[in-house]
Symmetry: C2
Subunit: 488 residues, 2 copies
Amino acid sequence: MIKKFDFEKAAKDNPFLNAKRSDQANELAELQRACIERNLPVLIIIDGWESAGKGYTIKQLVRELDARHFKVDVFEAEDADAPLHPYSWRFWTRIPARGDFAIFDRSFYYRVMNDPDIQGKKLKTALKHFERVEKMLTDDGMLILKFFLNVTEKTQRERIQELLKDENRDVLISKNDQEQNAHYKKYRDHFDEILEMTNLPFSPWWVIAAEDKKAASRQILGITIQEIRKQIQSHTDASEQSEPAFSRSYGKAPEILQKLRTDLVLSDEEYDQAVGGLQDEADELLFALYARRIPSIMVFEGMDAAGKGGAIQRLTQGMDPRLYEINPTAAPSDPEKDHHYLWRFYTNFPTRGRMAVFDRSWYGRVMVERVEGFAKPEEWERAYDEINAMEEELTDFGALVLKFFLYIDSQEQLERFRERETDKPYKLTEEDWRNREKWDDYVEAMNEMIDRTSPPSAPWVLVEGNDKRFARVKVLESFIRAAKARLK
Amino acid sequence: MIKKFDFEKAAKDNPFLNAKRSDQANELAELQRACIERNLPVLIIIDGWESAGKGYTIKQLVRELDARHFKVDVFEAEDADAPLHPYSWRFWTRIPARGDFAIFDRSFYYRVMNDPDIQGKKLKTALKHFERVEKMLTDDGMLILKFFLNVTEKTQRERIQELLKDENRDVLISKNDQEQNAHYKKYRDHFDEILEMTNLPFSPWWVIAAEDKKAASRQILGITIQEIRKQIQSHTDASEQSEPAFSRSYGKAPEILQKLRTDLVLSDEEYDQAVGGLQDEADELLFALYARRIPSIMVFEGMDAAGKGGAIQRLTQGMDPRLYEINPTAAPSDPEKDHHYLWRFYTNFPTRGRMAVFDRSWYGRVMVERVEGFAKPEEWERAYDEINAMEEELTDFGALVLKFFLYIDSQEQLERFRERETDKPYKLTEEDWRNREKWDDYVEAMNEMIDRTSPPSAPWVLVEGNDKRFARVKVLESFIRAAKARLK
């Protein structure tokens, strides 16, 4: 049995739980303004049985809200056999910006809920990813409210029949509705299991008895009001307290970069002899990945002036440009700042078969944002886990993930900067010189990053970059080796 | 016969037309930097016969380009029977930002080119929209280069066979390829007609003999270099000249808003009696539009404090929030400023059956941007035509387009501002007071706007707004009337 929430008990603490709906709606609009002022994002998920009254509930939620700061998204059936993107992609692209409300009709849970045959390990893997996403977002300050509208077999049947009779609303009935009702017991057990497994401390489920639509929507409004108030209160408490001392168990990072060889070189002849053939081979392999619908994600990080752009150019030069996209990562734009730091990357992941190259990436969180203090210590500290979790979703989805770290030593960087000053001044900024002064801090952060984000499924390829030709060939060869292994 | 370009003649003026490809690629990279510096956007369309070597050509174009400032987009087959968006939507969403290159593999022309049965009036209508879009973009400073790769029936057949034999590249062959080759003559005549009709002075076609892939790509690189140079030159010339005097033939606008009645009121009782029933009816009608897959676009403009937000809320309050989206229009963000002013609206048009409400809109171009001088006179002057053209595409697509103009007189605005000062200070800004000082300029611009953008298919509904209740009911009734007429 799906557990029920004790509303009578809760009503004592929450005067808005059973208040008039118009009062509730006005109260929620007040709270919306408070969230806008405080930059608090709120995600409300309305899930539950088909035909349980989700549309009605959402209508009541938004009736007094400021339209500039909420949006409603509907997650309908997708092509489940061959999704083009990793599963959580379409949710990431729609998460609310700071200060905004987003209301989801169905959610991440759609696919697993509507397929009772997803069980055991497969179910656990899917739910593990949702749990991680919800954790990342709530850690980032988002309030996530998950409602499940519960109706009996009989009520569901009646509602389906009612909608089918309506010449305009019959489009709302899909074969899922009929299917659920025909196998009600089986679905109930399945929902039960999912709700239990994802009833998380930071994003619990609220199961709502939705036999009476009006009562159900009053309860949802009441709970929403209560939880937003709590969120605002804890936000206020936190900002009144002095910054808590942050302590880490991670000690000094191992000396990884310092131990790289700086003497590896290729002559012009060796390079010229190798590069054309490697590029042709890389081209072939990208087509083979495309034919097998395997997406690939190539991350490039490294010291300033280490040759990332040149290495990317040589990697892709022989490839069909219709199969890859290069994503440069600059300082975040305003809309990007208004979202979780991973949001802007999720929107740029490749569809099946294609390759996305990232010239700098989400690793900025644990390098520049750490060293320059743009992220707080607790923020970049938890980023290692978040990044590992995100990359695991990508590799679970079947993606080939390779991360290249291009290293040059301090002396080589100085020479390249000086060369740029005269030859290509547009490629050298004041910031490059400032970063250089913090060389040791960057190396320490980079070493920790490599140490903590190197699972076998998404390894760092360390590239000795003092000689550009050597580095470019190593990148090409590494891609070729990894693609071949993946295609076996 | 498809007309051929006289390359021998052209080569005399363009040393890069037959230069070595590596020199060409480096020259193009130089020019790309010049475009970035000057904020010049470049759109390169590679169209032509299937299997004519588009991928190869694009690879040569991008080989030395800075990846941060170009992207390649592929326009593959879409669900032609039931497209979710107006036709040019997917191209608008991918146009290059100022300073960037975009390379399209196929383009707008895909659908009409691949269906030789599109003829006569239907063909003319489709091509008319492309012409207008190309005009808007080139007027806005974009360079559009359209290449058509031409191959003989025999070459096409050989290339298809070659690709089919390649175990990875066989995915590149679609039934379009086979279909074109089987009916080569029919397609050639069809292409001929399309190329003739869209060989526009501001965006001509360059027909390239693509029998020899290498020669073809040299020609494309050479022409691209030549045309970008010309564009940079004319841009430089224009900025060196003093601003040309701009003269308009349009005189004083008719007094439209001044003649609206300001005494129309509804009592509380009349309003309360009417509004619930109208909201239910609007809800029913939106579902009926959804069932018929008719998208609707509701634009709200008006004086500051005229009650746009309240009217939108009352219009949508009874509707299922899953069927509509409200798009507030604030000052453009940086990425929005980097594109044509219509770009950000194109990305928010509704999919079939849904409703998009715009709280302020593209009409800002001829109101605030005109009055405040954010747009140059020649820019806002041509905007009337551009807006009419865009709305005609929407209504041709089957959309219901309604534009509400909420008018209050100056005295009423003053009272509302004063009320807000005490009650809702967050709804009143310094800018509101500044705009108020330019009341007459705004009214003149608004009158001209209404006069020049009122085709029968996308009319302005003038709403007497001094009494909020009257205005809200008039908006609801107007929507109901228009939706009913559309559904007949």
